[in-house]
C-alpha cells in the first residue's frame, strides 16, 4: 500500500480512454463499477470537450456481483455497437473489474461483431495512465494497420522511395498527441506549421482527431514525428521495426531543441534546414538576453514532471534562461534512464518517484527559488511559499487555456519564457526589498506585488524547517526533529536576527549554507560573524 495525497497519473484505463476520446470513430467498452464514469468529466470539464467521450461503462453494482457480470459486459458491448456504430472497438477492465476476472477480450470476441475489436490488458495495480495510453495506441495501430509479413522493413522503405514521384514532398506522421494531453492541441498546430513550412507534408496526426481509417495510412509516410514519447515511442519503435519508418528523438521544446529538431527532421526528410532556421524570429532568446533578465541568472530551480517535459525544461532553464537546476525528477519510470542521463548534465541526482510526499520532501530540502512542475507541485509550492509554474501533466482546467499556448516550437519558447518568469518577483522589487525590509506594503514576506496579492506567503524560514521535519516516514520525522532542534539552538539570537534581514527568497539558502559551514568547521555556535564567513565562503 502506498500513502498518496496526490497521484501523478491516473490508472491505465484513463490512458486508454484518452486514446479513444482522441479519435473520431473508435468506441471503448469498459467493464467498471458504478462511479467510474467520473472519468468523463476529465474530458468534458477539464478538457472542455463538446462531446461525451466514446466510452460505454458497464457500471456494475454490488447486487450485480452475485449475478452474471460477464453477461452484463456482453450486453454493453452489443448495445454500444448498435447505438454508436463505431469503425473499431477497444474493450477492457478497470481496476475493480480486473479483480472479478471476466475476460473482456474473450467475451467480446465471442460476439463476433463485424468490426475489429481490440482487447486491452492493462494491469491496474502495476501500471499507470501513460503506460495505458501508450499500450492502447500500440495495440490499436497493430490491430488496424495491415502488415504484409513477406515484406521486410527495408523493403517497405525501398518501396516507399521507389513509388515516390518526381517533385513529391517528403511525408511524415505526427504521433502521440492525445485528448487531455498538456497543451497537445497547440503543440500539434505549432509543429505541423513548422513541418509544413519546411516543405514536409503531414499525412496522419494520431491519435488526436484521427479516424480508424487514418491509422491504416500511417505506414505510407516517410518518417514519424514522435511528439510525446510517453505515448508514442512504443508505437514508433514498432513502426520502425515493421515498416522501416525512422522517427524523431528530439522534443522540440525550447529554442535550441526546436532548432535541433528542425535539423533532425531535415535529415530524415532529405531537406536543407538552413532556410527554415534562418527565418525564425527568436523572441524568447532575445528576451532572455535583454538586461532585464540579468537578475534571473542562477536562480535555483527544481523541475518535476513527465520525462519529456522535464528533460526539455531543464535544458531551457539552464541554457536559455540561465537558471541553476538544483533538482530534477520524473514520475515516468519508463523513462528513468533518460532523466538520469539529463540530470548528470546539471550535476544533480534525478529523483525518480511517483510518491508526492517524496517530491515534497526534496523540494523543502532544496528550498529552490522556483519550482517548475505539475499541478501537484503547485500544492507543494503553496505550502512552502515558493513561486511555481506548470510545465507538465497532471494539470487542471486552467492549463487547458482558450488562447494559443503551445510549449513546442518557437512560439512555445515564447510561452515558456512568460510563464516561468511571471511567478518570480520582478527585478526592481527584489532590489528594494533587499535594501529596505520594513516597508508596510512591500515587506520581505509579501508575495511579489505584480501578482496583486496582499497576503504574505506562509514562508517564514521557521515554517520551512518545520516542513522538512514533517517528512512522510515517522522514523525520519523523529530523527529530523532531533537534528532540527539542535540545529536551531546553534544560532545566536543576533545571528538569527541578521538572517531575518535576508530576503525570504534567498534566506533558506543562506541558512543552509551557514549551518553547513558551521558543521564543516566545527562551529557549535553561529554568530553574525559565522553568517558572513559562510557568505564569503560560498558566495551569494
Amino acid at each position: 500500500m502506498q500513502l498518496t495525497l496526490w497521484t501523478y497519473e491516473g490508472p491505465p484505463h484513463i490512458g486508454a480512454m484518452r486514446i479513444a476520446a482522441s479519435m473520431t470513430d473508435l468506441h471503448y467498452v469498459l467493464h467498471s463499477p458504478q462511479g467510474d464514469t467520473y472519468a468523463d468529466l476529465l474530458f468534458t470539464m477539464i478538457g472542455r470537450s463538446r462531446k461525451r467521450p466514446p466510452v460505454t461503462y458497464t457500471t456494475f453494482q454490488a447486487r450485480d456481483l452475485g449475478g452474471d457480470t460477464a453477461q452484463l459486459f456482453q450486453d454493453s458491448v452489443n448495445n454500444a455497437y448498435q447505438r454508436f456504430k463505431p469503425k473499431a472497438m477497444i474493450v477492457g477492465a478497470s481496476c475493480t473489474a480486473e479483480l472479478i476476472q471476466d475476460d473482456p477480450g474473450g467475451l467480446a470476441r465471442a460476439l463476433t461483431l463485424p468490426i475489429p475489436v481490440i482487447p486491452l490488458e492493462l494491469p491496474s495495480y502495476q501500471k499507470k495512465e501513460n503506460w495505458g495510453a501508450s499500450e492502447t495506441l500500440y495495440h490499436i495501430v497493430r490491430g488496424l494497420v495491415a502488415v504484409d509479413k513477406s515484406i521486410s522493413a527495408q523493403q517497405y522503405q525501398e518501396n516507399r522511395i521507389a513509388s515516390k514521384q518526381e517533385g513529391q514532398k517528403p511525408t511524415c506522421n505526427i504521433l502521440g498527441p492525445t485528448a487531455l494531453g498538456f497543451r497537445n492541441r497547440d503543440d500539434v498546430q505549432e509543429i505541423r506549421g513548422l513541418l509544413e513550412s519546411m516543405g514536409i507534408e503531414v499525412r496522419v496526426v494520431a491519435p488526436l482527431n484521427a479516424s480508424v481509417s487514418d491509422l491504416a495510412k500511417i505506414p505510407a509516410a516517410d518518417f514519424n514525428v514522435s511528439l510525446y514519447p510517453e505515448i508514442s515511442q512504443l508505437t514508433c519503435t514498432w513502426l520502425n521495426k515493421t515498416f522501416g519508418q525512422p522517427f524523431t528523438k528530439i522534443i522540440p521544446i525550447g529554442t535550441k531543441a526546436t532548432k535541433a529538431f528542425i535539423e533532425e527532421v531535415a535529415r530524415l526528410a532529405n531537406l536543407n534546414p538552413e532556410s527554415t532556421l534562418a527565418n525564425q524570429e527568436e523572441r524568447a532568446h532575445w528576451y532572455a538576453k535583454s538586461v532585464d533578465s540579468t537578475y534571473l541568472t542562477d536562480k535555483r530551480v527544481f523541475i518535476f514532471g513527465d520525462a519529456s517535459h522535464v528533460i526539455a525544461a531543464a535544458k531551457v532553464a539552464a541554457e536559455e534562461i540561465g537558471f541553476k537546476v538544483v533538482g530534477l525528477g520524473t514520475y515516468s519510470r519508463e523513462f528513468a534512464r533518460e532523466v538520469r542521463e539529463a540530470a548528470k548534465l546539471y550535476d544533480v541526482e534525478a529523483l525518480i518517484t511517483d510518491d508526492y510526499l517524496g517530491v515534497e520532501q526534496k523540494v523543502s530540502e532544496l528550498a529552490p527559488d522556483l519550482v517548475l512542475g505539475t499541478q501537484m507541485e503547485r500544492h507543494i509550492a503553496k505550502r512552502l511559499g515558493i513561486p511555481c509554474a506548470v510545465i507538465s501533466a497532471p494539470v487542471h482546467v486552467q492549463d487547458f487555456p482558450a488562447r494559443y499556448s503551445p510549449q513546442m516550437g518557437f512560439e512555445g519558447a515564447n510561452v515558456l519564457f512568460d510563464t516561468w518568469i511571471h511567478p518570480l518577483m520582478m527585478g526592481l522589487e527584489e532590489h528594494l526589498i533587499m535594501m529596505f525590509r520594513d516597508d508596510f506594503e512591500f515587506s520581505a514576506k509579501a508575495a511579489p506585488s505584480h501578482l496583486g496579492h496582499a497576503a504574505p506567503p506562509e514562508s517564514s524560514q521557521a515554517k520551512t524547517s518545520q516542513i522538512s521535519v514533517a517528512s512522510p516516514s515517522p522514523i525520519k520525522i523523529n530523527a529530523g526533529e532531533a537534528i532540527s532542534s539542535s540545529v536551531d539552538s546553534l544560532w545566536a539570537a543576533d545571528a538569527e536576527k541578521e538572517l531575518g534581514k535576508i530576503p525570504f527568497f534567498v534566506r533558506g539558502k543562506a541558512r543552509r549554507n551557514t549551518e553547513k559551514f558551521a558543521v564543516e568547521h566545527g562551529i557549535s555556535h553561529i554568530t553574525i560573524e559565522t553568517l558572513y564567513d559562510a557568505k564569503a565562503h560560498y558566495g551569494r
Binding site: T7, T44, R50, T96, S124, R378, H379
Partner: protein
C-alpha cells in the same frame, strides 16, 4: 427509442408510479462525499483505501483547489497487497501511522472503503477498531464504505454519518427531549436554523454532523430528529435504533418546504400557531420578495432531472410549486419512500419519476422532450450544451447553501442563472 409507460398520468401523491430503470449509470460514487465532508468536520481526515482510480477521482474533483494541507488521501492497494505478499492489515497500519505522524492535529480519521477494498473484502471496520485502540485518546478512527458498487454520490455522506452514529456511545433515555437536525448543512444555514429554533422556543437543538469530532452527539429515547437531507437512509435507521424518532416532514427547500419542516418540529414542541406565524411570517415575506426576482425567468419553463443526489424530488417540488416550472422527468438514483412521503404528496399530479438509470435511453427521452433546462452531472452538461440544451450541473446543488428561507431565492437563482446566461450569450 423506448418510451416509458404512461401510467403516471393523472396520478398524484403516493399513487404516482415509480418507474425503475437499469443500465449504464452516469453518477459519482460515494467517495465524492469527501469533498464537502472534509470541510464540514474540520479536524477529520479521510483516508480512502482503494486503487489509483479512487485517488484519481478524488483529486480530479478537488484538485483544482491548491491545498497546502489536504485533509484527504488514498492508501493505494498494489499488486503485493492483492497477491497476499504483504499483509493488507499490516500495510494499512503502517500507512495510518505514517499519516498520523505527519498530521498530529487530526482528531478523527475515516478509513473509507472503495470498490477494490470491498471486492477483496478488506475488513476496514476491524482495522478501525484495532487502530482506535492504538491511538486511543489521540484520534478516533472510524470506517465506512464510499464504494461505487454500494453507494451513489451523496450516499457517501449517509455512510459516513452512519459510522459516526455507530461510534457514539449509547445513551440512556431519561434525558430531556431534544431536537437533532441530521445532514451536512453549510455553516451559515446551520446558524440560521439555530436562531429560528431559538425564536420558536425550541432550545435543545443540535446539528449532526458536528463541526468538530470532539463535540458530543445527543441521541436517546427522547430525541426527535429532523432530516435536513433526503439521502440519509442508513443514518436515520441507526438513529432510530437508539430510540430517536423521526419527525416526518418535507425537506427545507424553498419557502413552503422550510415552513413545513419547521412546523413539524414546532408542532411536537407544542408551539402555538400564533407564535409560529409570528416568528416565521417576516422571514416568509422577505423570502417571497427575494424569490419573486427569479420567477419571470423560471415560470412555465420545462425542466428534467438526471439522477444524481436524491435531492431531485424535493427540488422538483420546489421548482414546480414555488417557481412555476413544469417538470418533465425526475430521475433519482434511489428513492426512500418513507423519507420522501411528504414530498411525493406535494408533487404535481402526473409527475414522471424514474428511479435508477439507463443513460442512453434517458438521453433519448431528454432529446425528445427538449426541456428548457436539464439538471445533470458534469459528464453530461457540456455535451448537452453543445447540442443546444441548457443545463444546470447538479453537483453545485450539494455544494451551495440552498436550505431554508434566506436561501430560497438563491436556490431559484441557481436554475435561473443558466437560463439567463443562454439568453445573454445568444443575444
Amino acid at each position: 427509442m423506448v418510451e416509458l409507460p404512461q401510467d403516471h398520468l393523472n396520478k398524484s401523491g403516493k399513487s404516482i408510479p415509480i418507474y425503475k430503470e437499469r443500465g449504464q449509470r452516469e453518477v459519482f460514487c460515494g467517495l465524492t462525499g469527501i469533498i464537502w465532508l472534509h470541510r464540514k468536520i474540520q479536524d477529520a481526515f479521510f483516508l480512502v483505501v482503494g486503487s489509483r482510480t479512487c485517488a484519481h477521482l478524488v483529486q480530479s474533483a478537488a484538485g483544482v483547489m491548491i491545498f497546502a494541507e489536504p485533509r484527504f488521501a488514498t492508501a493505494i492497494i498494489d499488486d503485493r497487497d492483492l497477491a497476499g505478499l504483504a499483509d493488507a492489515h499490516e500495510e494499512l497500519d503502517r500507512v495510518v501511522k505514517a499519516l498520523l505522524a505527519r498530521r498530529p492535529d487530526i482528531k478523527m480519521l475515516f478509513l473509507v472503503g472503495s470498490c477494490p477494498s470491498e471486492v477483496i473484502k478488506l475488513d476496514l471496520s476491524r482495522a478501525a477498531q484495532r487502530l482506535s485502540k492504538e491511538f486511543v485518546s489521540k484520534c478516533r478512527i472510524l470506517s465506512y464504505s464510499g464504494s461505487g458498487i454500494e453507494t451513489t454520490f451523496t450516499q457517501g455522506e449517509d455512510a459516513c454519518l452512519a459510522s459516526l452514529i455507530n461510534d457514539t456511545p449509547k445513551q440512556v433515555a431519561e434525558k430531556d427531549k431534544n431536537l437533532l437536525i441530521v445532514g451536512c448543512l453549510p455553516d451559515v444555514v446551520e446558524d440560521q436554523f439555530k436562531r429560528l429554533f431559538t425564536e420558536l422556543g425550541i432550545e435543545n437543538v443540535s446539528f449532526f454532523p458536528p463541526k468538530n469530532s470532539q463535540q458530543s452527539i445527543e441521541i436517546h429515547g427522547n430525541t426527535q430528529y429532523l432530516l435536513a437531507q433526503p439521502f440519509l437512509a442508513e443514518t436515520a435507521r441507526l438513529i432510530e435504533e437508539r430510540g430517536a424518532k423521526r419527525i416526518a416532514a418535507p425537506f427545507p427547500f424553498g419557502i413552503e418546504g422550510t415552513t413545513a419542516w419547521l412546523k413539524a418540529a414546532a408542532h411536537l414542541w407544542g408551539i402555538t400557531s400564533e407564535h409560529f406565524e409570528g416568528v416565521t411570517q417576516g422571514k416568509i415575506e422577505r423570502a417571497k420578495k427575494s424569490l419573486a426576482r427569479y420567477l419571470p425567468a423560471l415560470e412555465n419553463k420545462t425542466i428534467s432531472f438526471f439522477p444524481d443526489s436524491q435531492l431531485e424530488i424535493p427540488l422538483a417540488r420546489f421548482l414546480s410549486r414555488e417557481c412555476g416550472m413544469r417538470v418533465l422527468e425526475i430521475g433519482t438514483p434511489y428513492l426512500h419512500k418513507q423519507h420522501l412521503e411528504c414530498e411525493l404528496d406535494l408533487l404535481p399530479e402526473g409527475s414522471k419519476i424514474v428511479e435508477g438509470q439507463d443513460l442512453e435511453r434517458q438521453l433519448d427521452r431528454c432529446r425528445a422532450d427538449q426541456p428548457d433546462i436539464v439538471v445533470c452531472g458534469l459528464g453530461l452538461a457540456n455535451p448537452l450544451e453543445a447540442e443546444g440544451i441548457t443545463t444546470k450541473w447538479s453537483i453545485e446543488l450539494v455544494f451551495s447553501p440552498v436550505h431554508g428561507y434566506e436561501q430560497a431565492a438563491d436556490l431559484a437563482e441557481l436554475f435561473a442563472r443558466p437560463l439567463n446566461r443562454s439568453m445573454k450569450l445568444v443575444a
